[in-house]
């Protein structure tokens, strides 16, 4: 029975308890923050490719203080880089990706009316909103936003005298992140409990779509690793504001010797990366899950090796807890420990390779339908291969010596996170838009968006590997201080060029998104002819999802082009035929 309650504007759109509405709230906030984060990167890219030159647009966005005469201030450069990283890693790729798709898909794909606790879910979004407001406000404080990198290593992040952004800006960053982590935990709790308990009749764990498996594992990763970030941040807050010496020791700053002794910045790094590494898998796994779904539906074929795909997700998640030291090879830690982390890091290549091969096998002898979502899924496989392979270099401690903190790293993580994971998110938006809004997104604009993005993204990030191998460090305000980098100028110009194009074309995507909500062609219940349960809900979308009884599941999610059927898809609710082989 669906729940009938009187909905006001406030309960329907603002403090909604409906998981579908909350998903959209996450999506819109995530998209907005994506624009902000992307703009920040374009601002600093201008400085990087044309160092010291005056740009009116810099002064327009940043004002006279931070871009006097249109030239970017070095402290603000570090602030832009920090905020770009923070916004994209957490706000867009974690909340925007998981918040949207976990909320939207979990109840629908498992056959539930809503999440276990609609109230906690609603709180999860509003904590996220509060975090957003606090973080954005930090952009406007007098001493500037946080500037110690998104990784906020102390002492730099603990001492305002070391960099101005470590004053109020860093305080606000820490408050925003605390609110953010609370939001993530509230969400994660719900996702786990809902998947474990509210599956409809017949929906066994092995009949779940891979997207749900990925989201379940991500939620578990999150509830185990985000709290350690909180403990890490708590000790930093004490060092910053209460004069403790957890991370600080033997420091002279601003001409004064500080009283702190006995602290270790490396302790911070251990605690931070204990979250930091699982975090990047929290970003990647939902994209893997979405791509599995989108590929299968659009190849009109089962995803190849469902059990192996689930197994690979589990192994990746488990291993993600024991690789964090590969961010710390050069901190002076015991070399033996470095060896251990090299070993575990390179092991992760194996389940990742299995997934790639399974995707290729899914394409093999498929009947591929190129929706914009499918193009992004294919783009995901391409960039995941590229980015994953360079990981083999970075994970090897001896090789890391010369590429650590160079543009090689920047190229690697942008290709796997800033491109692959974003492609996963785009694929998800294009694919589930008809279910979210009852309308279709414009196909031609989608194609244009994909191709320009695909070319631009590789144009921005592939060249960075060469910059890194030439020894160019990251987070440098300008490369003109060292003559050895002069010959790299034209590469930097190419990168900025593609960054601007890639950035601008996203506006087209946003236009398509907004336009289609109101004026898109009306979709039917199941425009992609997909098997999963969400496509059996009515176009009008009601709180409670199904107007009558909940559906009963009779088969797994991937019976596409099954020989026993004329149609090339079979809804999960269709009972098995006599003598039909069950998977």
């Amino acid at each position: 029975m669906s729940e009938h309650h009187k909905e006001t504007f406030i309960t329907k759109y603002i403090f909604s308890l409906d998981h579908k509405m909350i998903a959209k709230q996450f999506l819109i906030t995530g998209m907005f923050m994506g624009v902000v984060g992307m703009t920040l990167s374009l601002l600093f890219r201008l400085q990087l490719s044309n160092p010291g030159e005056s740009f009116a647009v810099l002064e327009f966005f940043l004002g006279e203080k931070w871009a006097p005469g249109g030239v970017l201030d070095p402290n603000m450069y570090l602030a832009l880089v920090t905020m770009h990283g923070t916004i994209l890693v957490f706000w867009v790729l974690t909340a925007g990706l998981t918040g949207t798709f976990a909320n939207f898909l979990i109840p629908l794909q498992i056959g539930a009316r809503d999440m276990a606790s609609g109230f906690m879910n609603m709180l999860s979004y509003w904590f996220f909103f509060a975090a957003t407001v606090v973080l954005l406000s930090s952009l406007y404080v007098e001493t500037g936003p946080a500037s110690a990198g998104w990784t906020i290593y102390p002492p730099l992040s603990a001492l305002p005298e070391a960099v101005p952004g470590s004053g109020l800006g860093q305080d606000l960053w820490l408050i925003a992140m605390t609110l953010f982590v609370v939001s993530s935990l509230l969400g994660g709790l719900n996702y786990i409990v809902t998947i474990l308990n509210l599956r409809t009749k017949g929906m066994t764990m092995m009949r779940l779509p891979l997207t749900i498996w990925a989201l379940l594992i991500v939620a578990i990763l999150g509830v185990l690793s985000f709290p350690v970030l909180l403990s890490c941040a708590l000790l930093l807050i004490f060092d910053r504001s209460f004069g403790t010496s957890f991370y600080l020791s033997d420091i002279i700053i601003g001409g004064e010797a500080l009283h702190n002794t006995g602290g270790s910045p490396i302790l911070f790094e251990h605690l931070f990366w204990f979250l930091g590494h699982p975090e990047v898998y929290i970003i990647l796994l939902p994209a893997l899950g979405i791509v599995s779904e989108v590929m299968s539906v659009n190849c009109r074929k089962p995803i190849f090796g469902y059990k192996a795909m689930v197994g690979a997700l589990l192994v990746i998640a488990l291993l993600s807890f024991v690789v964090w030291g590969h961010h710390m090879f050069l901190t002076g830690m015991d070399p033996f420990l470095g060896s251990v982390f090299t070993f575990t890091t390179l092991l992760i290549a194996i389940p990742s390779a299995v997934k790639v091969f399974n995707y290729l096998a899914t394409l093999w002898r498929g009947n591929i339908r190129f929706t914009p979502a499918m193009l992004f899924a294919i783009g995901f496989v391409s960039t995941f291969i590229t980015g994953g392979l360079t990981g083999l270099i970075l994970g090897d401690s001896a090789l890391d010596i010369n590429v650590h903190d160079t543009y090689f790293v920047t190229g690697h993580f942008h290709i796997v996170m800033g491109v692959s994971a974003i492609y996963g998110m785009m694929a998800g938006v294009y694919h589930w838009f008809p279910k979210m809004y009852g309308r279709m997104m414009n196909k031609k604009l989608g194609y244009f968006h994909f191709w320009v993005t695909f070319i631009s993204a590789y144009g921005v990030f592939f060249p960075m590997h060469f910059l890194g191998l030439a020894g160019l460090p990251r987070r440098y305000y300008t490369n003109s201080s060292f003559p050895m980098f002069d010959e790299l100028t034209n590469i930097n110009e190419v990168i900025t060029f593609f960054a601007i194009i890639g950035g601008l074309v996203q506006l087209l995507f946003i236009f398509n998104f907004v336009y289609s909500i109101f004026k898109g062609t009306v979709a039917n219940e199941n425009p992609w002819k997909s098997n999963t349960l969400e496509w059996t809900t009515p176009v009008e979308r009601i709180h409670g999802n199904w107007p009558g009884e909940l559906p009963t599941v009779e088969r797994w999610a991937y019976d596409y082009s099954k020989p026993e059927f004329d149609e090339d898809f079979v809804l999960q609710t269709v009972p098995l035929k006599e003598n039909e082989i069950n998977h």
Partner: protein
């Protein structure tokens, strides 16, 4: 949602949340262990007030257990809930006294003469108290609901949930107390 499913899911939500809190304290206590191994570590005795806190929190779990036992027999739980609440306040008072004790011993959170071993004790016990106070809020609401006769032997999920949380916080304190005393 059916009551049985609701009971199960809400308890699971709480347990996973407890898992998160455990990870939070695992991070802090790992940091403690790592730092201690590096030397320059001030040794001192636990204030006697912390022992008193430990006893208080164990008794408070007992009173809460009795409250739950009562409601399962449809008897009034309010008295025991109020007793638990009261013991929660005593615990808070005792912790503050414990900190004062540390200061008089020369163990400071920060500043001249402070040492990470002291700083950690303050920060970790403060974090624990913060979580206990969260429990006090929840317990307060539960007590009010109990006074309004909302609970019965067929409907006491709220009481079960606060019990699980409260016992966890008590056990966490016991673990921290023993950890600081003997590690």
């Amino acid at each position: 949602m059916e009551l049985l499913v609701k009971n199960k899911t809400f308890k699971q939500l709480l347990w996973i949340g407890i898992g998160s809190i455990v990870m939070f304290f695992a991070g802090l206590t790992s940091a403690y262990i790592v730092r201690k191994a590096e030397g320059n570590w001030l040794e001192f005795d636990m204030p006697i007030w912390f022992t008193f806190s430990t006893i208080t929190v164990i008794i408070s779990s007992l009173s809460l257990w009795l409250a739950l036992k009562n409601i399962k027999q449809n008897k009034s739980a309010s008295e025991f809930l109020i007793a638990t609440l009261f013991l929660g306040f005593i615990f808070t008072f005792s912790q503050i006294q414990g900190w004062k004790d540390l200061v008089s011993q020369g163990v400071y959170l920060t500043g001249e003469g402070s040492n990470p071993s002291g700083s950690f004790i303050y920060v970790i016990t403060l974090a624990h108290l913060f979580h206990l106070i969260g429990g006090i809020f929840a317990l307060f609401i539960t007590t009010i609901k109990s006074k309004l006769n909302i609970y019965s032997k067929d409907n006491y999920l709220g009481m079960e949930l606060i019990s699980i949380y409260w016992h966890f916080i008590g056990l966490l304190w016991l673990y921290l107390f023993l950890f600081f005393s003997y590690s």
